[in-house]
Amino acid sequence: MADQAQLLPGTLDLLILRAVSLGPLHGYGVLLRIGQISRNALLIEQGALYPGLFRLVRQGLLKASWGTSENNRRAKFYELTAAGRRRLREETDNWNRLVAAIASALSVQPEEV
């Protein structure tokens, strides 16, 4: 657990969108999927997931419907809307630009300045 990274503010939404983009998921499933695709490198408080999910639904990026899970339990499933897909693309681009910029800034050597 100790080697898990803290989430940067605002990145949880991006992770949720990405997780759901791979196929409809219920809340717990989103958590597992994020763990899976991030190779368990990120620390996510389980409860914090839900305000994020609701926020995305309210913004019209996700849509939710009740269904039955693989454990045969009632659960709310989330999937991307068209707007959500668009937002995921934009946010991914933004993120990549940001990462590239930060990385290049951090990797700069004194003689390069």
Partner: protein, 884 residues
């Protein structure tokens, strides 16, 4: 797209407040269950797995709240929260709430009431198809009267109307076989129903094709109301023959319930063809071009594309042409066209309603001023609370929303109360039959328009004055206010509140002044000299035509009726007057008179148009009309004697220079008859109590008998007691003759009706104004006392006298009251000039009125400062200082 989605989401959440909670719960629970399933699979037992899942999930309460936040605050929830808080605040300051709600209720009630009346009388067109293109003719003297031949010519020669219909009133004895009773109908042109495009409820209506000249169409169509009340909804009535004034008429149909004639005030019992009017009116109007009472109003739909101005020009051209062709019979003043429904009453009714609107507007203005100062005071009282909330991080937005919620709540409650009151009053008004025996009613029914108007007025005034304190709140500096404590900055200088209060008091004083002027005017007009003495007089109306008397038998029968009345013990004098006595049903007829030397009796040579009354010997005694010179009629002034007349002072002076000169002189009537003046009587009122002095002439009824007449019976006893004796005497003479018996005073009510209504409305408005100023001054005084409790307490502790305490506490309120009242009194005196148009002898230059207003305002001041003054005097300095 995104907007739509979020809108849908909002709407969904609006109605899903509690379901949303349940869903969040279920989803969180589902998460924990799934986690517990996984943990169970890794070897834990179920209970331990669930415990671990709960712990891993984290602070459930916190996440639940964050979820709610993430979903957005629920509009309804926060609204309910605002409303709950507002209710708490309002309950806490119940004085403010009651004053504000009452103020609004009064103002909204008054305005809704007046709007309801205006809607019923002016805004709403007649209940017929395409009422907007329906216009009726009005003549130069603002009455629609015209002769039947003129109507026919106008109908055939005009190029503006699709078709022109006409109607007149008929008052008949209607007998279904056993019980003759008086009924009111319209005698209409054959095309009447076709012009209005009215289909009968059942049976048929008559058409132009039914008219084949004089008395050719003995048909009647019943109105729905009369069919319901007199024939008990009997559908078999069609085809039945009933007697109108002893002439057989066949009932051919019943009009639809929504159609109640073409005059808003007078709904007829039945409709009959005007070509048969002779059978019920006793005279043939069909060829009488000079008889301008032949038709009450002609009306029709304007042709498409014809403007009102074109139509008026067209009608005037026809009129001018008729005058040229028939100079003896036709005098054409300029005609105009008006919307159907009010005809000649349109002008006065509109003026009256406009006046009421103005007064109601004043009430609203005063109420708004009142509300403004109430809200300002309320906000000032709460400045500490608001400051605290601001200091604790509440947004100004939120606080403003809170204030507005309070304002809206007050305006809704006040508006609803006012509306309920006005709807109840309007209901009473529409049931009201102001005159006994006349089918007159006020056509009012509250509808959606009224509710909308009341709601909008309430909300607008609530909003406007709810935001008066907004500036105060926005500029509030929490630090300063909290530091200064509740004694705060004390408004010694003139504030917005003071100005509002002065304005309000001034408006109220205007209302009080006007109402007093009106009441005084009415009292005076009731006691002024009408040229007769109505007390102790019964009027017995009997139309011999209704019992089938032919013209030659009328005079003898009327003499027998007079004699019969005189045999009743207690009866002093009995006289008779044809048609209507003066001031009864505002109905009088004028006649043209010419100087004796005039030979060419054209309209332009007319010397005077006196009111004409045909009276029997004994009439002047019975009416107590004083004879100034000469003599009155005797039973010898009959058809075989030369025509004689008694004139009033006005006509004597106008025609002959003086009262004494007139005796023995001659003048000429329209038909050329020379009439000798034998007597002069005092002036009087004839058509309305507010009219300028009019000329009048009295002719001998024996020389021009008419079947429709009133017996004027003066008695020593209360005339009411004699009514039964009179009725039985009349039955002895002819059981088939319908008779109406009323006191002259009762019938005068009709003439006094406008000024009565005006007085009552003004009185009510004045009362409202008074109540508004009470709430206003009370609010102001109570507020200033409560703000200065501490200061007053110190003054008392230091030994101030009671008068000094009062001076300190209420001096300002009284100063404002005095200032506002005097301004209002001045304005009221100016406004009263307007009143003199409706109210007889309305003059504000009347010490009684002036004194009354001053006294009233003083009383109002005392009344409304009584409680605050008591409070100021009962301050216990010890308690006061301990509390601080």
């Amino acid at each position: 797209m995104k907007l739509l989605d979020s809108l849908r989401f909002h709407i969904a959440t609006l109605f899903q407040g509690s379901r949303r909670n349940a869903e969040i719960e279920e989803e969180l629970r589902s998460h924990i269950q799934h986690r517990a399933d996984d943990l169970e699979r890794s070897g834990l037992d179920r209970a331990e797995a669930e415990r671990r899942a709960h712990i891993e999930f984290g602070g459930q309460e916190r996440f639940r709240e964050e979820c709610h936040e993430a979903l957005g605050s629920n509009f309804i929830d926060s609204l309910l929260q605002d409303v709950r808080f507002a209710l708490r605040v309002l309950r806490k300051s119940s004085g403010f709430t009651v004053a504000a709600v009452l103020t609004l209720a009064l103002a909204i009630g008054a305005n809704a009431l007046v709007f309801g009346v205006m809607d019923g009388l002016i805004l709403r067109p007649l209940n017929v198809a395409q009422a907007e293109s329906l216009y009726g003719t009005e003549y130069g003297d603002y009455s629609g009267f015209q002769s039947y031949p003129n109507y026919l010519d106008l109908r055939d020669r005009n190029r503006s109307f699709d078709d022109l219909a006409a109607f007149n009133f008929v008052f008949v004895g209607l007998d279904t076989g056993n019980n003759p009773s008086q009924a009111t109908g319209y005698a209409t042109s054959g095309n009447y129903f076709d012009v209005l495009k009215i289909q009968p409820l059942f049976g048929r209506v008559f058409h132009s094709s039914d008219e084949h000249g004089r008395n050719s169409a003995p048909y009647i169509v019943l109105s729905y109301g009369y069919w319901h009340s007199r024939f008990q909804d009997d559908r078999g009535v069609v085809g039945r023959v009933i007697q109108l004034d002893k002439h057989p008429f066949t009932v051919i149909g019943v009009a639809p319930p929504e159609f109640r004639g073409t005059l808003l005030f007078v709904s007829p019992d039945f409709f009959m063809p005007i070509v048969n009017q002779e059978q019920v009116g006793g005279e043939n109007i069909l060829d009488a071009r000079g008889n301008i009472h032949g038709v009450f109003e002609a009306f029709g739909h304007l042709k498409p594309g014809v403007t009102l101005a074109q139509a008026v020009a067209d009608v005037n051209a026809v009129g001018a042409n008729l005058e040229k062709t028939y100079p003896k019979e036709v005098s054409h003043k300029s005609s105009s066209l008006s919307r159907q429904g009010l005809t000649s009453f349109g002008g006065p009714v509109r003026a009256f309603v406009a006046g009421l609107m103005l007064l109601a507007g004043l009430i609203l203005l005063a109420a708004c001023a009142n509300l403004g100062s109430l809200f300002a005071a309320h906000a000032a009282d709460r400045s500490r609370e608001v400051a605290l909330r601001l200091a604790l991080g509440s947004s100004r937005n939120r606080i403003l929303r809170q204030l507005l919620t309070e304002a809206v709540l007050i305006s809704l409650v006040g508006g609803a109360l006012g509306l309920m009151g006005s709807v109840a009053l309007l209901g009473r008004l529409s049931m009201w039959q102001p005159f006994p025996g006349a089918p007159v009613h006020v056509p009012i029914s509250p509808d959606a328009k009224l509710y909308v108007v009341a709601l909008v007025l309430a909300l607008v005034s609530g909003f406007l004055f709810g935001i008066v304190p907004v500036r105060q709140v926005l500029r509030a500096n929490p630090y300063e206010i909290v530091k200064a404590g509740s004694a705060g900055r004390l408004g010694r200088r003139t504030t917005v509140r003071d100005v509002l209060l002065v304005v309000q008091i001034a408006i109220c004083a205007v209302l009080v002044t006007s109402s007093m002027v009106a009441v005084r005017g009415l009292v005076r007009s009731l006691h002024s000299n009408f040229g007769f003495e109505q007390r102790n007089v019964m009027l017995v109306s009997a139309n011999l035509a209704m019992a089938g008397y032919s013209a030659d038998r009328v005079s003898a029968m009327q003499k027998r009726m007079i004699d019969a009345m005189e045999t009743i013990s207690g009866v002093e004098r009995v006289g008779l007057v044809n048609n209507y006595p003066p001031l009864v049903y505002a109905s009088g007829s004028r006649a043209n008179v010419f100087k004796d030397e005039i030979r060419d009796l054209r309209q332009s040579n007319v010397a005077a148009m006196p009111f004409r009354y045909d009276v029997s010997p004994g009439y002047f005694d019975a009416a107590s009309t004083a004879l100034l010179a000469g003599k009155t009629f005797s039973w010898h002034d009959d058809k075989d004697a030369p025509p004689v007349a008694v004139v009033n002072r006005e006509l004597a002076v106008k025609m002959f220079g003086s009262v004494t000169n007139a005796i023995g002189m001659y003048y000429r009537m329209q038909d050329g008859t020379r009439v000798q003046v034998v007597g002069v009587v005092e002036d009087g009122k004839y058509l309305s109590v507010t009219e300028d002095q009019q000329p009048a002439m009295f002719l001998s009824s024996l020389q021009s008998p008419s079947s429709a007449a009133y017996l004027v019976v003066r008695s020593r006893r209360d005339p009411q007691e004699l009514a039964a004796a009179m009725r039985s005497k009349m039955r002895e003479l002819d059981a088939g003759l319908p008779v109406n018996i009323d006191t002259w005073s009762t019938l005068l009510d009709v003439v006094l009706f406008p000024s009565r209504v005006a007085t009552v409305s003004l009185g009510v408005m004045g009362m409202m104004g008074a109540m508004l100023s009470i709430t206003g001054i009370f609010g102001m005084a109570a507020y200033s006392v409560s703000k200065r409790l501490r200061e007053l307490g110190i003054r008392i502790a230091l030994g101030a006298k009671r008068t000094e305490v009062l001076q300190a506490a209420l001096g300002q309120a009284f100063k404002l009251l005095a200032f506002g009242s005097s301004a209002g009194l001045l304005l009221g005196i100016l406004a009263s000039r307007v009143l003199s148009f409706i109210v007889y002898q309305a003059t504000p230059r009347d010490p009684l009125v002036l004194g009354g207003v001053v006294l009233a305002m003083l009383l109002l001041g005392l009344l409304s400062t009584w409680i605050p003054a008591r409070r100021a005097l009962s301050i216990d300095p010890l308690v006061m200082l301990r509390e601080e």
